[in-house]
């Protein structure tokens, strides 16, 4: 078996040296009725690399991948172009097959890359510091909520009505275990009315969670909300599901957020059918915040020879030190995806992120212009970055199904994430710098034809 280096001769000799007759002797603590004698019958035996490859190729061929379609899906996962260098670098043995950098002397590669990543994340979210990654944006948001509750010692949380439904649900699942009271108002596809939010900001509030651009694509200035929230000594948690938006519009940090939870998947990671992605978590530089920030942190220091180096630090927040009193139970996070994110961000630099953001927005403006003349379609947004929502005269899911047979992945039906709330005719459409003029025109033409 190609992954097992021991030969029968090796096993024989090793057992002889140990003084055992059979490897099964080492399983002496297992009650004999539970120790299997033969391989599990319901599973196939070993297969060659060729056979395994064939099976997976067969499964892959059954899927319509984005490269083979005109692609307009978003809703929290975006398809940007990733330079070839990124995947090449993360496949280097030293990055791919290394462990968590607990022995810093032989992990400076990972640690320095993490320090650079933390810096980039802080700057992309407009905050002072960031951690070494979370599983994804949704769990980052959930942990941000818990962090805010610990900091304010309150347990009431106001979730923006236009927060990505998966994020809201993840917050609630994590929060329910700790008796956190969530106030959620029904989603508003026309754009969230600020009045209703303000009405719920009171002295019992731990935090307000606002997503920008919101789930339906609308853009909003968070500054007035930040002021209102700070007046009652609560915190503003900003959420970003499309980190590239920071290239063109104000970051939550610039608009007064205290903690930012974001999804970094747009840079370096790709769609991946939803995972692994990379959660970004950043906050203001205050001692109390730092003590309550979950996840790993990489810090700068010096070695015995006076050289600058990096180490995991402030571990007393974490499970392996504090155990039951830890800020979170997170251990393994998204290290390699954080590296991919960082490499892509380094290749892009300030100019590249700006250009990627401009082009993503420009293509979406083109799509807007192409769809606007279609009388049967109503566009909800007056503002957007790279995604907006529209109302169709017919069921969105059925339309998307129909268009998928024509080689168009026409976006995400809102009701897929918000079933039973009257959004059955609404559709989310997104573009990036990859979207071409031809794809936009094809989409508009097909849509017009199908709705006629």
């Amino acid at each position: 078996m190609r992954y097992l280096p021991l030969t029968d001769e090796d096993r024989f000799q090793m057992l002889a040296q140990i003084g055992a007759g059979d490897i099964r002797e080492f399983y002496e603590d297992v009650p004999s009725e539970y120790l299997l004698d033969t391989p599990i019958a319901d599973l196939p035996n070993a297969q060659s690399e060729l056979a395994v490859e064939r099976w997976f190729a067969g499964q892959a061929a059954r899927n319509l991948d984005a490269g083979k379609a005109a692609f307009f899906c978003g809703a929290g996962a975006y398809r940007h172009h990733i330079p070839a260098s990124v995947d090449h670098i993360i496949q280097r043995s030293e990055f791919l097959t290394s462990y968590t950098p607990y022995q810093p002397e032989i992990s400076q590669g990972s640690l320095q890359a993490l320090f650079e990543f933390q810096t980039q994340v802080a700057r992309l979210t407009g905050m002072d510091l960031a951690n070494a990654s979370m599983y994804d944006g949704a769990t980052a948001a959930a942990e941000a909520v818990l962090m805010a509750c610990r900091l304010t010692r309150r347990n009431k949380v106001l979730l923006s009505r236009n927060l990505h439904p998966h994020y809201a649900q993840a917050c609630k699942t994590l929060g329910q275990a700790q008796d956190i009271e969530f106030v959620t108002l029904p989603a508003e596809i026309e754009g969230e009315a600020i009045g209703q939010i303000l009405a719920h900001i009171d002295q019992e509030l731990a935090c307000l969670v606002m997503q920008n651009p919101d789930f339906f694509g609308h853009l909003r200035d968070l500054s007035p909300l930040s002021k209102a929230v700070h007046k009652v000594k609560a915190l503003l948690v900003g959420v970003v599901t499309e980190i590239v938006s920071s290239g063109l519009i104000k970051t939550p940090g610039e608009m007064g957020a205290d903690i930012v939870a974001a999804e970094g998947q747009s840079l370096g990671v790709g769609l991946q059918f939803g995972g692994p992605h990379v959660g970004l978590l950043s906050c203001r530089n205050e001692r109390s915040f730092l003590r309550q920030l979950p996840g790993r942190l990489c810090g700068e220091t010096v070695d015995v020879r006076g050289q600058r180096g990096f180490v995991l630090t402030l571990s007393t927040r974490e499970q392996h030190i504090r155990r039951g009193k830890a800020t979170s139970n997170i251990c393994t996070n998204s290290g390699l995806m954080a590296l991919a994110f960082s490499i892509h961000a380094s290749l892009l630099g300030e100019k590249g992120v700006r250009e990627m953001a401009c082009q993503s927005h420009a293509r979406t403006v083109q799509l807007h212009k192409a769809l606007e003349p279609i009388k049967a379609v109503k566009i909800w947004n007056t503002s957007f970055f790279n995604e907006f929502s529209l109302r169709l005269p017919t069921g969105a899911a059925q339309l998307v199904d129909q268009l998928s047979e024509e080689g168009i992945l026409a976006g995400v039906p809102v009701a897929r994430l918000l079933p039973g709330h009257g959004f059955e005719k609404d559709l989310l459409v997104a573009c990036t710098e990859r979207t071409t003029q031809v794809e936009i025109e094809t989409f508009a033409k097909m849509l017009q034809k199908v709705l006629a």
């Binding site: 992954y3 097992l4 097959t97 994804d136 949704a138 519009i249 070695d303 290290g335 390699l336 630099g349």
Partner: protein
């Protein structure tokens, strides 16, 4: 001792160098530690190939970029809601492509990795990461697909998830599995929340009183952290002299406040709990649930089915037992198998086969079978990239190969135990499972601290074993080679350890205090890092 081991000891033993005939490895090339290694002043392992590398911000510039874009019309700011920003305000630094490659390749060469040598980290299962898995995970049909495309356009992806679920359930003999958790700790949360919901379903008085979770003192820190995160109280239980759960201590805790037990099996001392079925039965009798931490499943896969032992939930670390790469800290995946009692509370979404034979995703609580679900744990459907890799690994091994995998893992650990126990004291008598636990008594007797010994292992070319864990053993040294270590590499590791331990006995404390000396970076000041946290780069006046 075979000739090979004698040769390895030569290489590790500095006394034979410099000059002299040196010693030969199997290929016949002379191997010698460079003469400067004896020099008191620390030197990097290969001074001519210094890999120290500035920060990207010190070599890059805001104006630089390594990505070219094609022309695109200007968008204007009509639709930006007044939130448009000026250029050049983020503070990002860019590099051209050549600079980027050089920066990261140089950084990579400062990292140790499993591809380089044995990584005997107990409880981490650092095994070989098959490269076929990387190829398969990158097939566009499996990676360039959006989670929310219509399900009929991703039937192959759902089939992969379904097949992985089948393997996990069959290997563990459990009726259900939650694929959603994104790492082991996330799986623990999933399992513990399911237990919490099962208790809540019994009514208010049970909910109010059943808050106690028993956790062995030797448990991984994520266990109590997770229990607390779920709103439970944690009571620690003791191990007996053999390293197993103290049954009397355990039984004494089984009252009407018991919610459950979190147990790792084999436990963190590397030992199978022989009374596990008794423990499960007593626990269920008392109205509690059994959470099993599956981090050590590498000893059992294909040999023992945890479902036969009476567990209610167990997470499986795909990045441990099933070879998905550790990547310097993730991503992992922690699918969690569930008993009949807990299956109704499984998180959303899950894959389901319709009557038509088509696969779909159940994403909403109102759907049939999802009414009692705990809800979502994260966005989208789970760590698909890890599912493809793990399933490829499972299919490559097959049921017979997985049996051999576990057996070889256990054999390798016992081989190391056998050859090191004359030198360091095993924490418990008898054989071990897939990892061997020692304490540092022999080191302490000779004035050597465990941390210093670990650093000296780095100079010998190995990542240190897990140290100071589990907490129940003073100065714990936990060694897990895994099944992907060859006899040659095991012997090399053993020889290096024996050589170092001989140096411990001969009182060479200075060498250990100074280690590591062969690395580009010496010991780092962790106290300073914590006291004066610098977590991001800042421009100074000169930049």
């Amino acid at each position: 001792m075979t000739k090979n081991i004698a040769m390895r000891r030569d290489v590790a033993n500095e006394k034979n160098h410099p000059g002299g005939s040196g010693s030969l490895n199997r290929a016949g090339r002379p191997t010698r530690v460079p003469s400067w290694a004896d020099d008191a002043e620390a030197q990097p392992s290969n001074p001519g190939l210094d890999r120290s590398e500035p920060l990207l911000f010190e070599i890059g510039a805001p104006e630089k970029t390594g990505v070219d874009f094609d022309p695109c019309p200007e968008p204007g700011d009509e639709f930006l809601g007044g939130l448009g920003r000026e250029e050049d305000q983020l503070g990002l630094y860019g590099l051209s492509e050549p600079e980027t490659l050089r920066h990261y390749v140089r950084l990579s060469q400062q990292n140790h990795a499993i591809d380089l040598s044995t990584y005997p980290l107990g409880s981490c299962t650092m095994k070989h990461n098959p490269r076929q898995n990387e190829k398969i995970a990158r097939l566009p049909g499996l990676s360039d697909i959006h989670p929310l495309q219509p399900v009929q356009t991703v039937q192959g992806a759902l089939a992969v998830m379904q097949e992985l679920a089948r393997w996990l359930c069959t290997l563990t003999h459990m009726p259900a599995v939650a694929l959603a958790p994104k790492a082991g700790a996330h799986g623990e949360f999933c399992g513990m929340l399911a237990i919490k919901k099962a208790i809540e379903a019994r009514g208010q008085s049970e909910t109010n009183r059943r808050k106690k979770i028993l956790v062995p003192k030797n448990a991984h820190g994520t266990n109590p952290a997770t229990a607390i995160q779920c709103g439970f109280n944690v009571v620690e239980i003791e191990a007996n002299a053999n390293g197993h759960v103290d049954l009397e201590n355990f039984d004494a805790q089984l009252d009407e406040t018991i919610a459950g037990l979190m147990l790792t099996n084999p436990n963190t001392c590397g030992l199978f709990e022989p009374d596990i079925r008794k423990i499960a039965d007593a626990l269920h009798e008392a109205g509690g649930y059994f959470y099993c931490d599956g981090a050590n499943f590498n000893a059992l896969a294909g040999m023992v089915r945890p479902g036969d032992l009476g567990i209610d939930a167990m997470h499986i670390n795909l990045h441990k037992t099933f070879s998905t790469p550790h990547g310097g800290g993730g991503p992992g995946a922690g699918p969690t198998v569930l008993s009949e009692a807990l299956a109704p509370y499984a998180p959303l979404p899950f894959v389901k086969m319709e009557a038509s034979g088509e696969l779909t995703l159940v994403e909403d609580e109102t759907a049939l079978g999802a009414e009692k679900s705990m809800g979502r744990l994260a966005a989208f459907h789970g760590q698909m990239g890890m599912f493809t890799r793990a399933l490829a690994h499972m299919m490559a091994h097959g049921a017979d190969g997985l049996m051999q995998m576990s057996k070889d893992a256990v054999l390798n650990a016992n081989y190391i135990l056998h050859h090191l126990k004359p030198y360091i004291r095993p924490a418990f008598p008898g054989y071990c499972m897939h990892e061997a636990l020692f304490d540092d008594k022999k080191l302490k007797e000779n004035g050597v601290e465990l941390i210093d010994f670990a650093k000296a292992m780095i100079d010998a070319g190995f990542h240190p074993m897990t140290t100071y864990f589990p907490l129940v053993v003073s100065g714990a040294m936990l060694i897990e080679p895994t099944e992907t270590e060859s006899r040659h590499d095991l012997d090399r590791f053993i020889a290096a350890m024996q050589s170092l331990l001989e140096e411990v006995s001969s009182g060479k404390t200075e060498k250990f205090k100074a280690a590591p000396v062969r690395t580009a970076m010496g010991r780092l000041d962790e106290t300073r890092a914590a006291r004066q946290p610098i977590l991001v780069w800042q421009e100074t006046e000169t930049t």
